[in-house]
Amino acid sequence: MPDPTKMQCGEIDALLSDAIEGKLTGAQLASFEAHTQSCASCGPLFAEAAAGHTWLKSLEDVEPPTEMVTNILVATTGLDTTRLHAKFGERISWLDRAQDWADGFFTPVLAFARQPRFVMSFGMIFFGLSVSLSMAGVKVTDIRHADLRPSAIKRGYYETSGRVVKYYENIRFVYEIESRVREFKKATAPAETEPIKKDNRHTNDTSQEPEQHQERNYSQGDSQQLLASSPTQPPVVILEGTYRRLS
């Protein structure tokens, strides 16, 4: 026969977080403490949950990358350069930056390459053109369908600059870079200024549906077992099982 004045294990689960967060008072706190001090399963659970809470509370907010707001605005509303530049100082798009970098990098080399002994024949120029295309890996079609996620851009930037440096070692073809960069600029300009917004409107069919109507689970079958698991069972058993199933 359970004593009606005593707290049962089932009640502890509902009060545990309040107890940890210091919200229990009076008789409720007294009977909570009485139970957790004597119960072999609730006592350790209380101690562990309290420790976990303290550990979690030691985590502070991390700073998002500084360029994040600009990137989000570019990705959503398209380029609104005057406002962005006014608001975020000298920050410019990655494409502009890459072009400026390429221009600055090759200018002294180009001056050197313009000397008569480096002037190549017409056929040589065409050869260089095709090699520069494949070595730099820059294709207009690639850029149009480029992955514009920040991490992908970062990755792409390092890969491309790696290839460009390799190319630069082959100084015979340096003469062609200037025209390539000009073409590169011309070819990518429309893709850059075209608002992403427009495109989104057309693909806007089903995305909002799940927000309202459908519960999303990490895996279908498992969540039911998770919800059904009894809180009075030793938690470690439930958790170990859940963890393995979900992994």
Partner: protein, 200 residues
């Protein structure tokens, strides 16, 4: 929070009316929160950046479906973030579960090598919880929790949401939320204690 709901609703209305300044304000207001939820859930800064951008793109497309009656903008934004995290979790299932708590340090809390941490007595919550190394261990421990427990403790202990709002975001009863938070906290403590014992 009532105030926040009103401000949020007004921002959305201005946004739909074509005020780009309002959209920028929304981004300014919520990007830090979304980024932090994503970072703590997904574990890496790169993923968090991609996911945050994904959240805002989705939000921008669906702003006109936001309904104040159903809750504050913050709850709506958090729900959207959480749903994208579910998708992300399913998408990346293959790549996970091979790394241990001793993997390379994550982006925001550089950890000292494990050998140096052995000396560190800060691994009980009473001592030196502020240390970077401990925070790094906690962050990695969090990644080991099942996603249901992880999201519950992130929303409660890191984002300070109340149980009612968490229940709305996760679409489960408040009792279930509390139970998951209890188990999430306890499981994290056990994971960290186990790691510590292995090191010794």
């Amino acid at each position: 929070m009532v105030e926040d709901a009103q401000v949020g609703a007004l921002l959305v209305r201005r946004c739909i009316a074509g005020d780009t300044g309002a959209w920028e304000e929304i981004v300014q207001r919520y990007h830090r929160r979304i980024y932090n939820i994503c970072y703590r859930f997904a574990g890496s800064a790169d993923d968090a950046q991609d996911l945050t951008q994904e959240v805002f793109i989705k939000m921008y497309r669906t702003l006109n479906t936001y309904d104040l009656e159903k809750g504050a903008l913050m709850t709506w934004v958090t729900t959207m973030t959480r749903n994208l995290l579910v998708d992300h979790f399913r998408r990346t299932k293959q790549d996970r579960m091979t790394d241990s708590l001793d993997a390379a340090p994550s982006d925001h809390e550089d950890a000292a090598p494990l050998s140096e941490r052995i000396e560190d007595k800060a691994l009980t919550p009473d001592f030196g919880v502020q240390s970077r190394e401990t925070r790094e261990l906690v962050h990695r421990g969090l990644q080991k929790l099942s996603p249901e427990l992880r999201e519950a403790v992130i929303l409660r202990d890191l984002q300070d949401m109340d149980y009612k709002d968490i229940a709305a975001v996760l679409k489960v009863p408040e009792g279930t939320v509390k139970s998951r938070i209890n188990r999430g906290r306890a499981e994290l403590a056990r994971l960290l204690q186990r790691t510590y014992r292995q090191v010794m």
